[in-house]
């Protein structure tokens, strides 16, 4: 029954369509509407004004970018060499993958909470670092920028790694052999063959990782310093909604979040299109 969309089939789509429209599109549009109106319903730009004209609120954008961009770069940059290395499979693959999955399933809240103790001034990490002699006093990992960055890396790296690994494993292994036969060293093969073919996967991975990092919330609250250095844009949105009960401004901030995420994604996709002109063919022959 392969074929087009006949009447009967359309019906099957209705539940999912209704769901997406009611629970996603409508709230989004409603939020957009709210962001341009005030509490009484009349149109205004004041909500956006509260974000863009107040330096205390405006800085959340830079703070969030300052956390999310490096975190994403680290995740993707680390994931690439490791994925390339493991692309032909390796011993202990299942165990390694299992350990990478664990932080993802446990979630940010548990990890942030745990990091408070583990990476605290008296925690094991500092004890170890001092015992080895790398530092002489405890390093401050918690309640600051570093803690939030680390939590983003701990959660983001496995995801980036597994995603890029999956992508790179799909590249025809004969391409590398061909490259070697033509005289290219392993490094050359990576730069001229593997990497260009990985670009689409890297681009998607970067985008997904970035949006996750940009909307960081619990770790910024628990592990960071929400009153200042790690006051990210999600915190601002939440505060306007649930502390000041100004849903209009909160919606405006959410819209700005979405807009910024969209801009970064577009920029990455432009880069990807410029780098990889060849057709989608990455598979066999």
């Amino acid at each position: 029954m392969q074929g087009g969309l006949r009447g009967g089939r359309l019906v099957l789509l209705i539940p999912a369509l209704a769901f997406v429209l009611l629970l996603f599109v409508y709230p989004f549009l409603y939020g957009l509407f709210l962001s341009f109106t005030n509490a009484t319903g009349s149109p205004t730009l004041a909500n956006y004004g509260r974000l863009f004209l107040d330096p205390w609120e405006l800085r959340t954008i830079w703070v969030t970018l300052w956390i999310s961009v490096p975190a994403t770069l680290i995740n993707v940059a680390l994931a690439i060499p490791f994925a390339v290395f493991m692309r032909h499979g390796m011993r202990g693959e299942k165990i390694i993958t299992f350990f990478l999955i664990v932080p993802l399933t446990l979630g940010t809240v548990l990890l942030s909470e745990g990091m408070l103790s583990y990476m605290g001034p008296n925690g094991w990490l500092n004890q170890l670092l001092q015992a080895i002699g790398i530092v002489s006093k405890p390093v401050r990992f918690t309640h600051n920028y570093t803690g939030v960055l680390l939590s983003l890396v701990i959660q983001g790296f496995p995801f980036a790694f597994l995603m890029i690994l999956g992508y790179v494993s799909g590249i025809n292994p004969d391409l590398e052999k061909a490259s070697r036969m033509l005289g290219a060293s392993r490094l050359s093969t990576f730069a001229r063959v593997l990497f260009p073919l990985m670009v689409p996967g890297i681009a998607i991975c970067f985008c997904l990782n970035f949006v996750m990092a940009f909307s960081v919330f619990p770790s910024a609250m628990l592990l960071g310093e929400p009153s200042g250095p790690t006051r990210v844009i999600a915190i601002a949105a939440w505060q306007w909604a649930f502390e000041k009960f100004d849903f209009n401004t909160a919606s405006a901030i959410s819209m700005v979040m979405a807009a910024i995420e969209l801009m970064v994604i577009s920029a990455v996709l432009v880069w990807r299109n410029r780098m990889y002109r060849g057709a989608s063919m990455v598979g066999k022959g």
Binding site: L12, Y30, Y118, N122, P158, M163, A241
Partner: protein
């Protein structure tokens, strides 16, 4: 390549993995030990082991109720998701039509857009309709990323059940609904099982949406944990860790069960 040759790359890789895994384990064990210790402020291991924090947590929270809500939400979300997603996945796997790509993107959007971005408008809407601060609200909110997730998982399973099987059933006289019931659903049961398990694991650990929408009596355990952790001064940190351990055990048990049915890599690509 000569097998078993230890290259620089291999050494580097294993070291990095050890560092990573070591830290993750360190975090987990710190939490576990802390939850059962007293007066552990310095030193490698706690000097006193006690169960008093668990007693504290039990008195502080109605753990049973918390777990009940958590699983209730997870199971209802999963059940509804499968009901909504299956027909959609069927159409998307079997049909070609103009705008299919756009429709697919629309369906997948809630999975890609991070919860904090659409969560607040969603919460506003749910409050408007008096659905928030109730279990029903939490269920509705959690549906948003899970339905696309289930669609994505089910599609390859449905594609695997070749169209020919349905055609064969039709040739033998079965009507549409019977084909669905007797051919498609039994054969995609493994897929639905996979989707169900992965979704349960994911829902239990989903924080932001529930946090924005839940009330005092409709919290899931991860939200309770966050609330305790954030209100740092209000209770002893070991008690917070005790609750963390309970949450950790809940997720880990579900994860281990899930891994009997799916491979670890499948978990990730679908988990976000």
């Amino acid at each position: 390549m000569q097998t078993r040759k230890l290259t620089m790359g291999a050494v580097f890789f294993f070291l990095a993995m050890i560092v990573y895994v070591g830290n993750v384990l360190g975090i987990l064990f710190t939490v576990i030990l802390n939850s059962a210790s007293k007066g552990w402020y310095h030193g490698l291991l706690p000097k006193i082991i006690t169960g008093e924090w668990y007693a504290y947590v039990a008195g502080d929270h109605d753990i049973a109720y918390l777990l009940f809500i958590t699983f209730l939400v997870a199971v209802v979300v999963v059940a509804v998701s499968i009901l909504v997603a299956f027909p959609a996945a069927y159409v998307l796997s079997r049909s070609e039509f103009r705008g299919k790509g756009a429709l697919l993107s629309l369906f997948l959007l809630p999975m890609i857009v991070p919860p904090m971005t659409y969560g607040i408008p969603l919460a506003v809407v749910l409050y408007k309709f008096h659905l928030a601060a109730r279990v029903i609200g939490v269920i509705l909110a959690n549906l948003v990323p899970i339905v696309p997730f289930v669609i994505l998982i089910l599609m390859p399973f449905i594609e695997q059940v070749g169209v020919n099987l349905e055609s064969a059933a039709q040739m033998l006289g079965a009507r549409r609904w019977t084909v669905f019931r007797k051919v498609l659903i039994p054969l995609t049961l493994p897929g639905m099982l996979t989707a169900a398990i992965l979704s349960i694991v994911k829902t239990i650990s989903m924080f932001e949406l529930t946090y924005l929408v839940a009330g005092a009596k409709s919290q899931t355990i991860v939200v309770a944990l966050y609330a305790d952790a954030y209100a740092a001064g209000a209770r002893p940190p070991q008690a917070v860790d005790a609750l963390a351990v309970i949450y950790f055990l809940t997720t880990m048990i579900c994860l281990v069960i899930a891994l009997r049915f799916v491979s670890p890599t499948q978990m990730v690509f679908k988990i976000k």
